[in-house]
């Protein structure tokens, strides 16, 4: 199971926030994934600045640790700190060396995780329903043009914040994915990446999709090419949504084992596991199609 949703506003005249649209879509799919919920939202960028969302620890609200991390990130020009639930959010000066930044923050404790970094991207997720996600983070107040969301039914790894989705491609700014399905060559791929020193944060096979795409993009592939290569290189069932600073896309495995539908009009693109998520959130007369086996599409914002 699991439910995934994505939305891209093409024209900028939509009066509702991206957060409220994705929340409405997720609410319709809450029954597909009662374990946890999350969204990756893309807002307006600030010049030469990045936004970080940091998980303080599995025990949630940890003010002492938030203080420690604030001290650690001062040298990165960090400011505008806010603490919500298990998250510390702040803005810091753009850097080419995210690896040092992430290692520095995560040195604060072994259950500390930099959940996302990006010019536009802000990723929040937690155990519980989409309604709980709204209650904790007030995602419906988030303005932007595109984003993706996920409701999780865990089938292969523990239920906690880090194992929830979306996944940020750790170290690659503004790249986030949501995945419905199973990646059956996960262990083989993971061993290959780990031999190259890439760290995995979870036992969740969906994390490999974010790692895989980040790796391809680092090697110079563009987003459509990177997504197309999942068809040949990932095994198993997958319907994935991928979002970057400037694009939203989907890819479906060549056996079409998981559902995924999409609608495109002159004003928006909506993608979801089931049509019920689209009809429940977006009024109007437009048609919806199921993605075909092995189909990949990318829309630029």
């Amino acid at each position: 199971m699991c439910g995934i949703v994505g939305y891209l506003n093409k024209v900028g005249t939509e009066p509702r926030t991206i957060g409220s649209i994705l929340l409405a879509m997720l609410n319709s799919l809450a029954c597909r994934g009662p374990d946890s919920a999350g969204v990756a939202l893309f807002g307006e960028p600030r010049p030469h600045q990045l936004v970080a969302q940091v998980k303080l620890g599995e025990n949630g609200d940890d003010r002492e640790r938030a203080g420690e991390i604030q001290t650690i990130v001062e040298k990165f020009g960090a400011r505008d700190f806010t603490q919500t639930g298990a998250y510390l959010r702040f803005v810091f000066t753009e850097t080419d060396d995210l690896t040092t930044f992430i290692a520095g923050v995560e040195a604060a404790g072994k259950d500390v995780e930099v959940v996302s970094v990006g010019r536009r991207l802000e990723l929040v997720k937690q155990v519980g329903s989409p309604a709980c996600l709204e209650k904790t983070f007030g995602i419906s107040g988030f303005h932007g043009k595109h984003g993706i969301g996920h409701t999780r039914l865990s089938t292969e790894s523990v239920v906690d914040l880090s194992h929830s989705q979306p996944f940020w491609s750790h170290g690659y700014p503004d790249l986030a994915i949501v995945h419905n399905g199973h990646i059956t060559n996960y262990h083989q791929l993971r061993r290959r990446y780990e031999q190259r020193g890439i760290r995995f944060y979870t036992e969740n096979d969906s994390e490999i999709v974010a790692v895989f795409l980040g790796d391809k993009l680092r090697q110079g592939a563009d987003l459509p090419a990177a997504m197309q290569s999942t068809i040949a290189e990932l095994d198993g069932s997958f319907s994935c949504l991928v979002a970057t600073e400037g694009a939203l896309g989907f890819v479906k495995d060549p056996f079409s084992l998981k559902p995924l539908v999409f609608a495109e009009t002159d004003s928006f693109v909506a993608v979801a596991t089931e049509e019920i998520a689209i009809r429940g959130a977006i009024p109007g007369d437009f048609s919806v199609s199921e993605a075909q086996a092995g189909e990949m599409r990318v829309w630029q914002r």
């Binding site: 060549p254 056996f255 079409s256 559902p259 539908v261 089931e274 049509e275 019920i276 689209i278 009809r279 429940g280 048609s287 919806v288 199609s289 199921e290 993605a291 075909q292 086996a293 092995g294």
Partner: protein, 236 residues
């Protein structure tokens, strides 16, 4: 005509309401605001016409015997699955597994179909005005599968005795699927079927029946023969 507003009501309530109206001898039932929810109008065993004013989710019209169901929007997975007789018409597109395992009746899709259209069908007729996706007709046993547009990969794989007609391009044929000649009387019959079930606006844009490709089983998989082991290696 009886009307049911689906907004804010559970699927169980809606299906009960449909059954109640049928018990009160309604012959025409309209369901408004279906909101793409699942399992609407399943296992209807009476000759009624149910018009659904919008999109439906999974398994709409599944297991029906004799009912006629018209969906004005699109349909999710498994529309009309395992129906025995009757008609299911979808104005929009359909998800994977449409008309899977039907035993009879007619399924008409005005838009496109996703993967596994008409798999394991054991009778009946499936007509798609648009294109169909991956592995349509897989292991289909009887009946007729008509696709006016293009067919996806592995078309008609491992079939028994279903007859398929494709108006457009076939991405590739599945294991043991072969092209067969279409004679004039058969083309005439196909033309009649298409004219009967497709609205003129849709029929007009599609190829003439005589230009359809006919696909049947090559019968190589019907009986195991160790001399044919290569084909078994490739068969799913």
């Amino acid at each position: 005509m009886a009307e049911i507003d689906a907004a804010g009501r559970s699927t169980r309530e809606l299906n009960s309401a449909i059954r109640r109206l049928i018990a009160e001898s309604s012959k025409e039932i309209t369901v408004r605001n279906p909101g793409a929810r699942h399992n609407l109008a399943v296992a209807i065993l009476d000759e009624v016409h149910i018009l659904v004013g919008g999109s439906v989710g999974y398994y709409c019209g599944g297991l029906i015997d004799g009912a006629s169901i018209e969906i004005e929007g699109s349909a999710g997975w498994g529309v009309a699955e395992s129906m025995l007789s009757g008609t299911v018409r979808v104005h929009g597109n359909v998800g994977s597994g449409a008309a899977a395992a039907i035993r009879g009746g007619t399924v008409v899709i005005h838009g496109d179909a996703a993967a596994r259209l008409g798999v394991s069908m054991k009778g009946g007729t499936v007509i798609v005005a648009g294109n169909c996706g991956y592995m349509a007709g897989f292991m289909a046993q009887k009946g007729t599968l008509i696709v006016c547009g293009d067919a996806g990969e592995a078309f008609a794989d491992s079939m028994y005795a279903t007859t398929c007609y494709v108006g457009g391009k076939i991405a590739n044929l599945g294991t043991d699927a072969v092209l067969a000649p279409l004679d004039s009387s058969e083309a005439e019959q196909l033309e009649q079927t298409l004219t009967c079930y497709l609205p003129p606006s849709l029929r007009g844009a599609k190829p003439a029946a005589a230009d359809f490709k006919k696909v049947v089983a090559g019968r190589k998989l019907w009986n195991f023969d160790k001399r044919d082991w290569r084909i078994w290696q490739e068969a799913l």
